[in-house]
Subunit: 348 residues, 2 copies
Amino acid sequence: MKNGVVECTVCHSKLLSPSAKTISRAYDKRRNRFSSKAQALNFLLVVGDCFLVGLQPILVYMSKVDGGFKFSPISVNFLTEVAKVLFAIIMLIFQARRQKVGEKPLLSISTFVQAARNNVLLAVPALLYAINNYLKFIMQLYFNPATVKMLSNLKVLVIAILLKMIMRRRFSIIQWEALALLLIGISVNQLRSLPEGTTAMGLPVTTIAYIYTLIFVTVPSFASVYNEYALKSQFETSIYLQNLFLYGYGAIFNFLGIVGTAIVKGSSSFNILEGHSKATMLLIFNNAAQGILSSFFFKYADTILKKYSSTVATIFTGIASAALFGHTLTMNFMLGISIVFISMHQVT
Amino acid sequence: MKNGVVECTVCHSKLLSPSAKTISRAYDKRRNRFSSKAQALNFLLVVGDCFLVGLQPILVYMSKVDGGFKFSPISVNFLTEVAKVLFAIIMLIFQARRQKVGEKPLLSISTFVQAARNNVLLAVPALLYAINNYLKFIMQLYFNPATVKMLSNLKVLVIAILLKMIMRRRFSIIQWEALALLLIGISVNQLRSLPEGTTAMGLPVTTIAYIYTLIFVTVPSFASVYNEYALKSQFETSIYLQNLFLYGYGAIFNFLGIVGTAIVKGSSSFNILEGHSKATMLLIFNNAAQGILSSFFFKYADTILKKYSSTVATIFTGIASAALFGHTLTMNFMLGISIVFISMHQVT
C-alpha cells in the first residue's frame, strides 16, 4: 500500500483504498450500483432494453410497404421526440397523483421554472442527439455501412475516456481491458458482414471520411456522457421532469432541422405525417420507449451499462432469430459473445 | 480476509494469503518466475522460440524439391529424436568440462544409473509424444485441417486443467478468463482460413472424428504437462541428462514405430535417410532445437508460457511476412492479436 493505493496481485489493478476519496459527487452516486436494490434496477433496465431492441426488427418488418418505407426518414426523428415528450408528460401526471401530502408539488409552475433553470444543461445532449440523427443520414450516403459499423464500435472507448474526463470516473487497468474486449467482441461478431478483402490497414476510407467518422463516433458518445452528467448533477429533480426538458429541447431542435431542410429543399419535405401507418407509429413508440429507458440508464446506472445492455440485446436477438428461423450460429458469433461475456465479468 | 483468502475488489479473484501454503513443491519452484533472473530467462526462452519457429517456414520452403517433399515424413520424427539425443550428449560433455572440483561428476556411470532410475517417469511423455506424432498423420487423412486447427486450440484449457490436477497449480478466475481469451484470440486469427459456411454448431465432423479430436487434444497436452511434472520433480538432475533420457526414450519409441510400419507395410519405408538433403537436415536440427528449448520451458518456466510463446511466434511471423511480402494485415489478425495481448497481461 503506497499513497493510499493497493495493488491486486492477480490483475495488478491499482485499487484506491477507501480513505483516498477524491471522486466527484456524481461518481459517488454511481457506487450505488453495487447495492442489491440498484442491481435489481439494473437488471430490469437491461431486460426492458433487450425487449424493446428485440421488438425493433419485427416492427421494422411490419412498417415496410412493398419492401420499402413510404415515409420520410427525417420525420421519424421529430415524431419520436414528440412521443417522448408525451410519454414524459403522462408519467409526470402519474407521479404527481401519487405524491404524498407535504411533498413539493411536481406540477406547480414554480417547481417547473426552477427545474427548467437548473436543468438547462440538458439542451446540450438534446442538440448533440439532433446533430447525430442528422449525421446518420449523411454517413449512409458517404460510406460502406459495414465499415462505419466497425469503426463506430470505438464509441465504447471514447465513452470511457469522456466518463473519466467529465464524470471523473476511475477505471482500473482490468476495466480498460474489459472495455477493449467489449469493442473487440462486437467487432468479431460483425466480421462476417464485412466484405471479403477488407483489411485493417487498408480500409477503403478517405481522409475526409475519417474526419466524418471521428465526428460520428465522438458526437453521440459526448451526448450520452453529457446527458449522464446533466441528469445526475440535478439528481433531486424528478426524472420525468428532466425527460420533459430533454425531449422538449430535442423536439425543438429536430423541428428546426425539418424547417431548415424544407427551406433549402422546398416545402415537399414538410409533410411530416405522410406515409405513416399503425405499424410505423408502433415503431416510433418503440424508439421513444428506448429513449426514455436510456435516460433511466444514465441517471440510475451509467453509459457503460447502457452500452453492455445494447450488446446483450444484440446477442439475444441473434440467438432468438437462430432458434426461430433455424439459422446456425456462426463461429464469429460464438467467439464474439464469449469475449463479450468475459468483458462483462471483468468490468464489474 | 476469510480463512486466509482475500478477495480483490476489481477482478473478484480469491487470492491466497501467503500464510496458507498448501501448494506442491514443484509449484513453489515455479514461483521463481517472478524473480528478475527468472524473468530474464523467460524472455530469452521466448526470443529463442520465436527465432526457431520463424526459421521453420524458410527451411520448409528450402526443403521442397519440385514443390513437394522427397523424404518419408515418418523418418523425420525419428531423425529429430536422434538429433536431440546428440544435442543432449554434446551439451552434457560441455557441462561436465565446466564442473568444479568437488562437484558430483556428471559423466560417471553411477550418476547416470541413479539419474536414469530417478527419471524413469520421462518415458511417459516420450511415449505420448511418439503417439502424438503418429496421430498427426492419421488426423490429416480424416479431417479438414482448418477444423482440426480450430479444435486443437482447446489444448490451452486442457493444459490448464491438467496443470491444476497434476501440478496442483491454482488459477484465479481472471487467469482462467485470460486462458479462454488466448484460445479465443488464436481462433479469431484463424477464422479467415476457415471455409465460408463453417459454423460452430454444425461443424462438418462426425462422432468418430470428435473422439479422434479429443485424443488429439488431450494426448499432447498430457504429454507436455507430465513432462513438466517429470522434469521438475527431479529438479536436481541436470537438464541435459534429463533430455538425454527423454529423447533417448523418444528415439526408441519412434524406432519401434518405424519397424512396426515396415513390418505392416513392407520394407520400403525402412530407408530412413532416403530423400534427405542439407536443407532437410537443417529443418530437422531446427525441430530438434525447438524440442530442447521446450524442455527448458517445462523445467524452468511452465507449459502455459510455452503456449504463449508459440502464439507470440505466430504473431511475429505474421507481421514479418506482411512486412517482407507486402501483405496487408487482416482485420481478424488485428483483433486476434489484441485479444492475445490482453490475455498475456491478465495471465501474469
